[in-house]
Symmetry: C2
Subunit: 225 residues, 2 copies
């Protein structure tokens, strides 16, 4: 019997029990490339944490740097105040890619890419906070940090940057057409995928934008994506 | 001194302390029309619940019917198994509408519509489960339920439908251009909004779709949205 070769670099097993994809395990991915690619395509994450025994989920902007997911927020927000204490957290990023229409009700589905990560956030110390905020801006709009006014002392103090290691992250992905049962293939219902697309459109200048300020290149690039 | 007239029907105050929008309270909305409109524009919600003290957040499809948010899932999923026990839950639906570019780093923002709801899910009993599943399909694709094969006994048994009352829901919405400080208005950086659009595109028929099955009208309608 031939030996089954191991995958060379991809982390093919879940990093922990709680991060293992249990429902439809074939859709689970644990390699960094896949996890990073999903995160890099999104803009909003949902962070769950517990507050006095009550689960709370809050949407917020995020960015990825190396094997960390970063968020920022007001030092006064209940989320930042909870996360900075190192409470157990869970973060999800979900990108809807389409609705899947099958011949049976049961096999209707969605195409999507998602990442769920478990762990505890850690505070990015003041010494690295400005660089992190700059990285967030520059990731999306390279060159912009130099054009705008950076945070002043008060704004800097009022902003918290937190990060979560991605070492307990998993991706779950569904792609492709419906998977109907063989005995349903003759049902004369339309079957296929209704793709869901997202993207940036023509920038809308601030009504108070001074005359003569041209649209920067990074915004043209974002719109073309 | 004139008396301030009460708003006729809109719930202008938060229904509970935990559902009051604390950060930038001006963005909070508590009337049903606003909450329903945000929910009706989305397809995926994020549900947070606690499992052995660990917060978990899971993305899933949802639909709204009256003042309830409905989800369905496998009876074997860890989420359905937890929610059916009536554990405290929190659900968020978030629609990204744009990136807001300000003249200062601090006032960069996002335009979005979101809803956060607190409560406990309740099981939709078998007597109403089939009607709920039909409503889900028909909401998105009116007429489809009659074209497809409905759930058989085994599929019906394997599917759980749960619902959450929206009586502790709040919406949070940001719209419009950046709000820079007066002293920053002369900074010559481009300012404005990069709109983020979502929508359905040209349906992709299943490669195994039998010849002669035309695209149904409800899919044409969805694509035009």
């Amino acid at each position: 019997m031939p030996t089954i070769p191991r995958l060379p670099s991809a982390k093919s097993a879940a990093p922990s029990t709680r991060s293992r994809v249990k429902r439809v395990p074939d859709r689970g991915h644990y390699d960094r490339e896949t996890v990073h690619a999903v995160l890099d395509a999104g803009h909003v994450c949902h962070i769950a944490f517990s507050q006095d025994g009550q689960p709370v989920v809050i949407p917020t902007a995020y960015w990825r740097e190396g094997d960390y997911l970063y968020v920022h927020g007001s030092t006064k927000s209940r989320m930042a105040m909870a996360l900075v204490r190192g409470v157990p957290a869970c973060v999800a990023v979900t990108l809807l890619d389409g609705l899947v229409f099958a011949r049976s009700a049961f096999h209707h589905s969605m195409n999507y890419r998602s990442v769920v990560a478990f762990g505890q956030f850690e505070l990015v110390p003041d010494a690295h906070k400005m660089a992190a905020l700059e990285a967030f801006t520059e990731k999306l709009a390279p060159g912009r940090w130099a054009e705008i006014r950076g945070p002043n002392k008060q704004e800097f103090k009022a902003t918290m940057v937190l990060r979560l290691s991605l070492n307990e992250a998993s991706a779950k992905i569904r792609r492709g057409p419906p998977k109907d049962d063989a005995e349903d293939m003759a049902i004369p219902a339309w079957a296929g995928v209704l793709p869901f697309r997202t993207g940036f459109e023509k920038p809308e200048p601030d009504p108070q934008l001074a005359a003569g300020i041209a649209l920067p290149g990074y915004l043209k690039t974002l719109t073309r994506r």
